[in-house]
Amino acid sequence: MKVLEELKYSKEHEWVKIDGNKAYIGITDHAQHSLGDIVFVEIPEVGTELNKGDVLGVVESVKAASDVYTPVSGKIIEVNEDLTDSPENINEDPYGSWIAVIEISDMSETEELMDANDYERFCQEEE
């Protein structure tokens, strides 16, 4: 399982890359691995306002469909349209395949996220 030092992580297995007040959000290597081959990604609409914990999108694999939750509140300012045609990008490069970018409305929420070490430990405990 790959974990990147520079990212933050949620208990629902999303990763967050914080860039100023923008948050790039995707699902972790651990998440893509347990889902298996991803065959469909439902991406949100630009402009949608979301609260922390709301459904950001859906990833569907040959095994199951899973909701992706936003770990931070804010407005969606960009989505990764490429995933509609190439959902396999998430399997091949989970940390390169962000699903959406959110303009963070409450920066304090990012402090509740796990760093790489904590996330790795969290995954081991969950096993």
């Binding site: 991803i38 065959v39 040959v62 396999e88």
Partner: protein, 487 residues
């Protein structure tokens, strides 16, 4: 024959070959171009296959032989109740009086059909402890939708418009949240406790005046009976919500316990599961929805009533949610379920459930040494294992399922319920003999041994099927759904 790959009917085609032996044309022939305007004439060839009669018959016979159903073998597909469909049901449903009627016939000419609908309503009410059924819904999820519409109509009638949310456990069938969303509810998930039942504290926390109801399958999708059902019902009712019973697993409880007595207000049953009507291939299904007294006025209309020696359709139901299906549901399926109930009687139905539960527990005990059993307690009609032990050897539950194909079995349900990792769910049903169960158990033990000692047997499975391991991800991502010449 099973192993041979069958070509497409287009690939079998030979130009000029045909089965037509028509008499000579005895009218003057006319060119099609003289009769039909150019705009409407086809420009390309029709691309219809050209075959002899025997080629056509063999082609479709081969395809039918590749089909796998309960009539060909053991079908332990958990949560689906793939029980044997007694042939007497088919005979009965083909009686002229049932087969050759029309839905627009006058009531007095179809009294027998109406009587059957009326009595099926009464039987299902007795079996589930409800006060009335609508037989219209055509499938389980359709029954869920109708049931939730009834719950919604009930709250609206009471001016209780704040109730916009439905609680669904994390172990639920995917249809539950989908049906709730279809009807316009927001879905709230409640987690399971370590015994596999609803987490009572989590449920209490979720209850509010916004909750319209709770959907529950009992026994649940882990094959476990939620022993706290009385308490759960009290918590939901005290907060003004209603309880919905997903009857997907009703095969475990007939004649033993009743959703109505457990506190449920609405239930649906799957006649194509519990009541032995055909399931695969589109069935068609039937998902009657039943309710407690206070909800009867909201049932879909018409319902069949009886008065003064006459059966009739009652349309005078102002609170009804309306029709949910054309005419009166899948009538011939209801006839088959009626035949099943009458054939077995009350004692017989109880024995069905007892045998279904016994069979599942037999498999559980025989296999728990070989496969991880995440919830080790007496199960109901199905048992959920996990392939986690086999993961150590580099094989997954998917590989175990694929290997079962080599032994001629339909694999169990895999990767469901979602709360069990590497889940596989075995539901033998009551109609399987001890010999059949033992054969399956032995094959599973053999596969567990292979997983440890020769994992490639699983990783390369199946080998005895017309096509080998399919690329399911590519099939889902880039499906080829129609034949194209030269492709």
């Amino acid at each position: 024959m099973l192993k041979k790959e069958e070509k497409l009917v287009f690939e079998l085609s030979v130009p000029g070959r045909s089965t037509n032996l028509l008499p000579k044309c005895d009218v003057d022939e006319a060119e099609i171009t003289d009769m039909i305007p150019d705009d409407f004439l086809r420009e390309d060839e029709t691309c219809l296959p050209e075959l002899s009669e025997v080629d056509v018959v063999r082609h479709f016979t081969h395809l039918s032989q590749k089909n796998y159903g309960v009539d060909s073998g053991f079908y332990p597909l958990g949560s689906c109740t793939m029980k044997y469909n007694p042939k007497i049901n088919e005979e009965v449903s083909k009686l002229d009086g049932f087969l050759k009627v029309h839905p627009y016939q006058l009531e007095e000419t179809v009294q027998g059909c109406l009587e059957l609908l009326y009595k099926t309503d009464k039987f299902l009410s007795e079996i589930t402890g409800m006060d009335g059924f609508s037989l219209q819904p055509a499938a389980g999820a359709h029954g869920e939708m109708a049931g939730l519409m009834i719950i919604k109509a009930f709250h609206e009638k009471n001016g209780d418009n704040k109730r916009t949310k439905i609680i669904v456990p994390d172990s639920a069938h995917g249809t539950n949240p989908a049906s709730a969303a279809t009807v316009g509810f927001d879905v709230v998930e409640v987690k399971s406790d370590e015994r596999g039942g609803i987490d009572i504290d989590a449920l209490k926390e979720l209850m509010s005046e916004e909750i319209a109801g709770l959907m529950l399958t009992n026994p649940n999708t882990l094959g476990l009976f939620d022993e706290n059902i009385d308490l759960i019902a009290k918590i939901v009712h005290d907060a003004g919500g209603l309880l919905y019973y997903d009857g997907a697993n009703a095969n475990a409880i007939m004649g033993i316990s009743r959703p109505g007595d457990m506190g449920f207000d609405v239930v649906h049953l799957n006649l194509h599961k519990t009541f032995s009507t055909p399931h695969g291939g589109g069935g068609p299904g039937s998902g009657p929805v039943g309710v407690k007294k206070q909800l009867v006025p909201f049932l879909p209309k018409p319902v069949v009533e009886y008065d003064n020696g006459k059966y009739y359709f009652d349309y005078d139901r102002p609170l009804s949610i309306g029709r949910v299906k054309s005419f009166y549901g899948n009538f011939s399926v209801i006839v088959k379920a009626y035949a099943y109930i009458r054939t077995l009687g009350a004692d017989g139905l109880r024995k069905v459930s007892e045998a279904a539960v016994l069979n599942a527990n037999y498999i559980k005990e025989k296999l728990k040494e070989y496969f991880h059993l995440p919830y080790d307690r007496t199960c109901m009609h199905e048992v959920v294992f996990s392939g986690q032990w086999q993961k150590e050897y580099g094989v997954s539950t998917l590989d175990i399922a694929k290997r079962l194909l080599d032994f001629g079995y339909h694999p169990p349900t895999i990767y469901f319920p979602l709360i069990v990792k590497e889940a596989f769910m075995v539901e033998p049903t009551e109609t399987e003999s001890k010999e059949t169960l033992d054969e399956f158990i032995n094959v599973m033990i053999k596969i567990a041994g292979e997983a440890e000692n020769e994992p490639e047997m699983l990783l390369n499975a199946p080998q005895n099927t017309p096509v080998l391991r399919l690329d399911e991800a590519r099939a889902a991502r880039k499906p080829v759904l129609k034949y194209e010449r030269g492709l």
